[in-house]
């Protein structure tokens, strides 16, 4: 078993491209997403028509670029001069926007309600509080756990799948199975060889996200790493399993839309009870759901490691199941 694990580790070390793919690409993509989903400091451009001067004064003092208009002019929204127009219609305050765009809607309604609050403190009847996290949390921060989980999975899945297929097409699989090694040792060797890499990758990612991107971790790093590595083991096992059904490297890549994309969508990024037709329940058979759930609990709620043990056990169960499947599939190469 160690012979296989050592060999895989050496192979990955020599294959500089894959090394970069596993180690550096997740960090680059994370940084990219950090800026895309981060707080851009965008100031919405708001036009007002005949509004209580106290409110518009308060709006101006706030984070809004204000323009006084004489009438509601849609063309200003169409050509992008303004993001929204605020006007009174039979005693009601109306915010008119070009189209549904969640980020800008949030910015504008936030600014308007803050202004109303400032002018009429009595109108302040509704307040939203969060048990975990704050209103100031950026999209990146609230998605951090999903990004960590998905990246830990994706790259290891790809590398393991491709290397398994290569082993088959080169004939090395047939050759090295004609030795006294047990089939289960082969699968274990694969798991540990890539697993060691997954550990290094996970440490890099977690340290980078916490110390460079400054994402706040409510729990300590150790249980986060534990979940990520366990999840990467699932990725290795799943990668080698699906590669059995691929003829070449390109066909491994074809599994991405089938295996990876649905998993990302069911990771909890979209709350699963919001997914229609009960399709959200599919999440319960996706390892990614348990991994992201555990990471969320650790990173945002700061729960104790004991509280994510059920998810860890389920992930371990997936590894066990896939391990068994892989050992059986090796019978294609050697019947005993």
């Amino acid at each position: 078993m160690m012979a296989v694990a050592i060999r895989i580790f050496k192979q990955l070390l020599n294959d500089k491209r894959s090394l970069v793919l596993v180690m550096v690409v997740p960090l680059v993509v994370m940084t990219f997403l950090f800026f895309i989903f981060g707080d851009s400091g965008y100031i919405p451009k708001l036009g007002v028509v005949d509004i209580n001067p106290a409110i518009s004064a308060s709006l101006e003092a706030d984070t809004v670029e204000l323009t006084q208009l004489t009438s509601v002019d849609n063309s200003l929204l169409e050509d992008g001069t303004l993001d929204a127009i605020l006007y009174m219609d039979s005693g009601k305050l109306v915010i008119l926007m070009l189209e549904m765009d969640s980020t800008k809607v949030q910015l504008v309604t936030g600014a308007v309600s803050a202004a109303i609050k400032a002018v009429f403190p009595a109108a302040d009847m509704l307040q939203v509080d969060y048990i975990y996290g704050t209103e100031a949390e950026t999209t990146f921060e609230s998605l951090g756990h999903i990004l960590l989980g998905v990246f830990a999975f994706f790259f290891v899945f790809l590398i393991a799948g491709v290397s398994f297929v290569r082993e088959r097409t080169l004939g090395t699989m047939e050759r090295f199975l004609l030795s006294p090694i047990r089939r289960s040792s082969v699968v274990l060797g694969f798991l540990f060889g890539f697993g060691l890499f997954a550990v290094i990758q996970s440490v890099l990612m977690v340290v980078f996200v916490e110390y460079v991107l400054g994402l706040h971790f409510a729990s300590s790093i150790i249980p986060v790493l534990l979940i990520m590595v366990l999840f990467a083991f699932v990725a290795v096992a799943l990668g080698s399993l699906v590669s059995t059904f691929a003829e070449n490297e390109f066909q491994v890549a074809q599994f991405i839309p089938i295996i990876i994309v649905p998993q990302i969508l069911l990771s909890g990024m979209i709350p699963i009870d919001l997914i229609p037709l009960g399709l959200g329940n599919l999440a319960y058979v996706c390892p990614v759901y348990y991994a992201c759930d555990a990471l969320d609990a650790l990173m945002t709620r700061g729960v104790d490691i004991v509280q994510v043990l059920p998810q860890a056990a389920i992930l371990l169960g997936f590894v066990g199941l896939l391990f068994f499947g892989n050992t059986l599939l090796l019978k294609n190469f050697r019947t005993i």
Partner: protein, 249 residues
């Protein structure tokens, strides 16, 4: 001619009995039987597509025959107990291109239970034998075709197996080294090893104790070189392919 060797009443050597193998489009092996005595070099000769590779893979246990059976010293193939005693060199370069030649050898050596200083000494010895000492620390992806072939050969020899199944081991190797390799095969046979070597080069048949001529998945003729030559008018073994193969076709 070497007699069938019996040890403590156990049948020795490789026994191939009524083996047949069909692939989706071709009948690769048709009801083939062959006995390879222990301590001999058996040459498998035939044009490409004649079933040499398929036959060797069936003997190693990599491929499951549709019918018939293969026994090595009375043990039916495949068997875990046989693997340490077999050395297999496939026709394609089944090597890891992203490892050095040295690391390729270490990996296969470890699979066969070699370790530590003994493994290192053996790896150095084999690299020296095949003339790859200088290139041991280079990645196999940088090797030439001939170098890969040589590395692949010493991987099969590394754990000093009793039975060697070598699929076209000398293709792309220069004549001087080729001679050295055949001398080594002879020395191994004298030490009591059994070798099955496929080739499509007729000259190499001369180095074998016996040869089997394969054609379209069956055996046209088998025997020692003098025996086979006696069957021809020109003394050229190739003639048998035309004479017998012509009838079969």
């Amino acid at each position: 001619m070497i007699q069938l060797v019996k040890k403590r009443g156990i049948e020795m050597g490789i026994t191939i009995e009524n083996v047949a193998k069909k692939f989706p489009k071709v009948e690769a092996i048709k009801d083939l039987s062959l006995k390879v005595n222990s301590h001999e070099i058996m040459g498998l000769i035939g044009p490409s597509g004649s079933g040499k590779t398929t036959l060797i893979r069936i003997v190693t246990g990599a491929l499951h025959a549709d019918r018939g059976e293969v026994r090595i010293d009375d043990t039916k193939v495949p068997d875990m107990a046989l693997f340490p005693r077999l050395g297999f060199m496939p026709q394609s370069d089944a090597l890891y291109p992203d490892l050095t030649g040295y690391d390729n050898l270490l990996f296969f050596g470890r699979l066969f239970g070699l370790k530590g200083e003994r493994l290192k000494a053996r790896v150095e010895e084999m690299l020296g034998f095949i003339g790859l000492t200088e290139d041991g620390n280079r990645l196999v992806s940088r090797y030439s075709g001939g170098m890969k072939k040589r590395l692949s050969l010493i991987i099969a020899l590394l754990h000093d197996p009793e039975y060697l199944l070598l699929d076209e081991p000398t293709v792309g190797i220069d004549p001087v080294l080729r001679k050295k390799i055949w001398d080594h095969f002879r020395a191994l046979a004298e030490q009591g090893k059994t070798l099955v070597i496929s080739t499509h080069v007729m000259d190499e048949a001369e180095h074998c104790d016996r040869v089997a001529l394969l054609y379209r998945g069956g055996i046209l003729a088998a025997g020692t070189i003098p025996e086979l030559k006696a069957k021809t008018s020109s003394g050229q073994i190739e003639e048998l392919f035309f004479a017998l193969g012509g009838e079969a076709a």
